[in-house]
């Protein structure tokens, strides 16, 4: 049997939805099996870290790495897989830009641990907190150590390609798989290193079927507070802060099509340095007021501006985390 190229997929700080998205490619997954030798995919098959360590460097052709870097285990595996892989893809929003787990960067890690083990809904009468090492008769046990902040994969290792989305749309996953298979067969060439793949050229508005006019709004509202919402008119124009104008296309405007505002999971458009800054200026540009008082009043309609503009992107943004997350334990 011809040695098939090796394939790996790993799941760091993420929810697992990316794995589902891969499986959700239906029969395409069979192409993966047909064309690749799956060597490491903890969700789908049993494999040990030491098996990976034993592999030769660059022996894995393609690794889809999903999840951000939250602890030292994530970091170790990222570095390991980088060493062993020819092509390392930051797969999904978490690996690309931190995603929802990245919102943890709004708080110091100590606070997060404390909250997790000491809220009213937590039954923890003895005030027990996790510790990274513990001695048991059999010896010393270790659990991974949390890092101060969540980091996208790129901030830890060199990444070849980025595939955003929470999760990446399955049709995009399928297209990428097809591409790689074509490359293996010599029928296509890889895009330049650093490219964002499995996405559109523009932003969500490009794919959004709603009618767009020159927009000015006198107030911002939540989608559930506009009744009835016009299903054919641009959502932002109706006063709902929609992240679509700044969010990379590729999802076929899934949320706006379903009647909800875009929340930005596909991340910034090509060449954008800071996603949040693009949304700040987008929202600010539609405010129909000139006095500070009136502008502030309109801005009150966005109750959590930081969360609004950095929902998926905080860890990958210019500031990366809040001041307290940097400074406090």
């Amino acid at each position: 049997m011809n040695a098939k190229p090796k394939f790996a997929m790993y799941w760091a700080a993420s929810c697992g939805g990316c794995e589902i998205a891969v499986l959700n490619t239906h029969e395409k997954i069979l192409d993966v099996d047909a064309n690749f030798d799956i060597v490491f995919w903890p969700v789908a098959m049993d494999a040990k870290y030491k098996d990976v360590e034993a592999m030769e460097d660059d022996s894995i052709l393609l690794t889809l790495f999903n999840g951000g870097i939250r602890n030292d285990e994530n970091e170790r595996l990222a570095k390991l897989l980088r060493r062993k892989s020819k092509i390392l893809v930051a797969f999904g929003s978490c690996a690309c830009e931190g995603c929802i787990p990245g919102l943890a960067n709004l708080s110091p890690v100590g606070d997060i641990v404390y909250t997790a083990f000491n809220t009213i809904t937590t039954d923890n009468p003895n005030e027990i907190y996790p510790r990274t090492t513990v001695d048991v008769p059999e010896g010393e046990l270790h659990i991974p150590t949390l890092s101060k902040v969540v980091r996208p994969l790129e901030q830890v290792v060199d990444v070849d390609y980025f595939m955003p989305g929470c999760p990446p749309e399955s049709h995009q996953v399928a297209a990428v798989i097809d591409l790689v298979i074509d490359v293996i067969k010599g029928k296509a060439e890889l895009p330049p290193k650093g490219s964002v793949i499995g996405v559109g050229n523009s932003t969500v508005c490009d794919e959004c079927p709603r009618t767009r006019n020159v927009k000015m709004v006198k107030e911002f509202k939540r989608i559930q507070d506009i009744a009835p919402a016009d299903p054919t008119l641009c959502i932002l124009e109706q006063g709902v802060p929609c992240n679509g104008p700044a969010t990379r296309s590729g999802c076929n405007a899934r949320c706006p099509q379903a009647g909800a505002q875009c929340i930005g999971c596909y991340g910034p458009a090509e060449g954008v340095i800071d996603y949040g800054a693009r949304l700040i200026t987008a929202f600010a540009s539609v405010i129909d007021a000139n006095t500070p008082e009136e502008i502030e009043h309109i801005l009150d309609g966005i109750p959590d501006p930081t969360g609004q503009v950095y929902r998926f992107n905080l860890a990958g943004s210019l500031m990366k985390a809040t001041k307290s997350a940097w400074e406090k334990a």
Partner: protein, 663 residues
């Protein structure tokens, strides 16, 4: 590293070198910024001198420099100088960056250590930035030789005649039925006391008959599109209900019209006109207009007296407003001013006390063609005043109203004093804060009025009242004022008070400014390109401002500006094409999502939405390069030349010295 950068640090004599160790800065740049591509760093006594420029030109040629940074004075002073030097040496001028270490460093700091350190940061920022600079070419645009002049007052008339006499076509648009503006309401003009009509009317007639002038009165500009050289203007020619082809201007319709209306415009509310009227006898054009709001036929459906009596059947009740489209290369705005509404100063009693008059009312009173045939009388229409108080600075130099000086009021007040004295022999008081009689022959006029015996009281009038405190005040208007030179409060009873009201921007100046794409000051006057060196041009290429639209001024200044703008327009017409600064925004068609957020941001209407492609596009000729859309595009699809994201990001890093190799 592909760029070869030269850094030139200027001493500016001791202006910079006194507070900045320029040698240290140059050496530092040569060493620490070498990895950025700096191949040479020099300092020189006066970089802007021809020797300094030659130094740079020589290096460009001999060392093959691809970028130049000059650390010297503010770019507003010498950016052009060094760009030209680069151009002479064959380097694209936009690959030169100025780092200001004089206005922004040596002149504002005194510590040499700090000055030197800051200069290094500023140079470092400029070096990082210049790497990202792109070679740019100026944009050439052809000029349509036709010109639009908006406003038919004396300033607009002057502009129109100058251009028309030079052989080019002018469209002159006027909102009122006749040209002439405020000047046509005046009796005499200061300081020479020329009869206003005598000097203005010939000009008006010349406009009316000039082959190169298309005169559109009773018309307003409703839309302006395009850009310098290629403006497309829409004008609404309001229905006159008088056929201009047939009308001979005989005036029978006015005579026969039974409807009298208070004339708020020309007669300033002090006289009457008919519902069909020409505002005054010398009106140009001489065709009357029908005032639809007041015409009995339009109100009740009967009358038609004018139609019955018109000998040429020129009355046409079916006439409609008409939209006219014209193409012009340049536009001159001469939209004039509004008079300050003196009712706002309630302590002066205008509108409450009958014998308080505004300046424009007095102009009509004293005008031989006015409602009293030039007799200066009280509001009862017959009594000649025995004493008259003239109050200066009404609504001007007052934070409660307008904070600026209206320029003309002092001279106007003196002119009134003279006219009252001459026509009535009354005792005349002038109340002033400061007597401002600058310009030729103005102070001489003040001397003349002093000689005539006018009584001057230095003090801003506190109030005008009819509440008498003693017998001698009964039936009079009492002017209460502190005579600041005597240091006493005085109560001066007079028969008539004239308020020398200030000038205000037109009520619609902000909207008009927006339509033409030019800005207004906080007060509402149109903003000139430079207050001293470019007073009639605006920030929008091809749009000029003259007369009181730009700020309060008298007739001589308005005429001078009218002529100045005409010269600027003629210059453009004769050049046949104009070069535009290449600092422009553009949209990447691939990445634009057509979200249309930028569409509402451009006050110059440079951004258009292309329905077919569902994307937006920028017209570079209309773009003024402010960069607002660049900063606003949520997709990052708009980029701007001259001030690109890359340039600014690099400059931030450079200024923060993050571009240094810290070995």
């Amino acid at each position: 590293m592909t760029e070869r950068i030269g850094v030139y640090v200027c001493h500016c004599g001791t202006n910079i070198a006194g507070t900045v160790d320029v040698v240290d800065v140059a050496n530092w740049a040569a060493e620490k910024l070498k990895h950025q591509g700096v191949v040479i760093a020099r300092e020189y006594k006066f970089m802007c001198s021809s020797l300094g420029q030659e130094l740079i030109e020589k290096d460009i040629k001999e060392l093959g420099l691809t970028r130049v940074v000059v650390a010297a004075c503010s770019p507003h002073l010498h950016e052009k100088t060094f760009r030209t030097a680069a151009k002479n040496a064959g380097l694209n001028p936009y690959l030169v960056e100025l780092a200001s270490i004089r206005e922004q460093v040596s002149w504002v700091h005194s510590d040499k250590t700090i000055g030197t350190a800051k200069s290094k940061a500023v140079v470092s920022g400029a070096v990082s930035r210049v790497i990202e600079n792109a070679a740019l070419e100026e944009i050439k645009v052809p000029i349509n030789p036709n010109t639009l002049v908006v406003g038919g007052g004396i300033a607009g008339i002057q502009s129109a005649l100058e251009i028309a006499n030079a052989g080019f076509h002018v469209y002159l648009v006027e909102r009122e039925p006749s040209i002439g503006g405020h000047m046509s309401q005046f009796d005499k003009t200061f300081p020479t006391l020329d009869c206003s009509a005598c000097i203005l009317t010939p000009r008006m007639v010349e406009v009316g008959t000039h082959p190169n002038i298309t005169l559109l009165t009773w018309s307003e500009v409703t839309n302006v599109a395009g850009y310098v050289g290629n403006f497309h203007v829409t004008i609404n020619k309001k229905a006159r209900f008088v056929n201009e082809e047939l009308c001979t201007g005989c005036g029978i319709c006015q005579e026969k019209c039974p409807k009298k209306v208070i004339d708020d415009v020309y007669e300033a509310g002090l006289g009457y006109r008919k519902a069909v009227y020409t505002p005054f006898a010398q009106a140009v054009p001489n065709f009357p207009v029908m005032d639809k709001e007041n015409c009995t036929y339009f109100i009740k459906g009967t009358c038609k007296a004018c139609e019955k009596f018109c000998p040429t059947n020129a009355i046409d009740f079916t006439q409609q407003d008409q939209l006219i489209n014209i193409d012009v290369g340049n536009i001159i705005l001469a939209t004039g001013y509004d008079l300050f509404d003196a009712r706002r100063v309630s302590s002066y009693g205008y509108g409450r006390l009958p014998n308080v008059f505004t300046s424009i009312e007095f102009e009509r009173l004293s005008n031989a063609a006015g409602p009293t045939s030039g007799n200066i009388v009280l509001r009862d229409g017959k009594t000649t005043p025995k004493s008259v108080g003239i109050i200066h600075c009404v609504g001007s130099r007052d934070k409660n109203f307008n904070n600026y000086c209206s320029v003309i009021c002092c001279m106007q007040g003196l002119k009134f004093a003279h006219l009252v004295h001459e026509r009535t022999g009354a005792t005349v008081y002038n109340f002033y804060i400061d007597m401002r009689t600058a310009y030729k022959a103005y102070d001489e006029f003040y001397q003349r009025v002093l000689e005539e015996g006018t009584l001057f009281v230095r003090g801003k009038v506190a109030e005008v009242t009819n509440a008498a405190r003693k017998e001698s005040e009964k039936g009079k208007l009492i002017i209460q004022v502190e005579d600041t030179l005597a240091g006493k409060q005085r109560r001066i009873p007079v028969d008539m008070v004239i308020l020398s009201s200030g000038l205000q921007p037109r009520a619609d100046s902000k909207e008009v400014g927006k339509m033409f794409g030019i800005s207004c000051s906080m007060d509402g006057w149109f903003t000139e390109r430079h207050p001293k060196l470019d007073p009639v041009a605006t920030m929008t290429e091809g749009i000029f401002i003259v007369g009181c639209a730009q700020g309060p001024k008298d007739i001589p200044s308005s005429v001078a500006q009218g002529a100045a703008a005409a010269a600027r327009v003629l210059d453009k017409i004769l050049q046949k094409e104009v070069m535009l600064e290449p600092i422009k925004a553009s949209i990447n068609k691939e990445t634009c999502s057509g979200c249309r957020i930028c569409n509402g941001l451009c006050p110059f209407n440079a951004i258009a939405y292309i329905e077919d492609d569902k994307i937006s596009d920028i017209n570079p000729a209309l773009c003024q390069g402010c960069g607002t859309c660049v900063a606003a595009c949520p997709a990052g699809a708009i980029s701007g030349t001259g001030f690109s994201d890359a340039q600014i990001m690099a400059q931030i890093d450079g200024l923060l010295l993050r571009n240094l190799i810290t070995a």
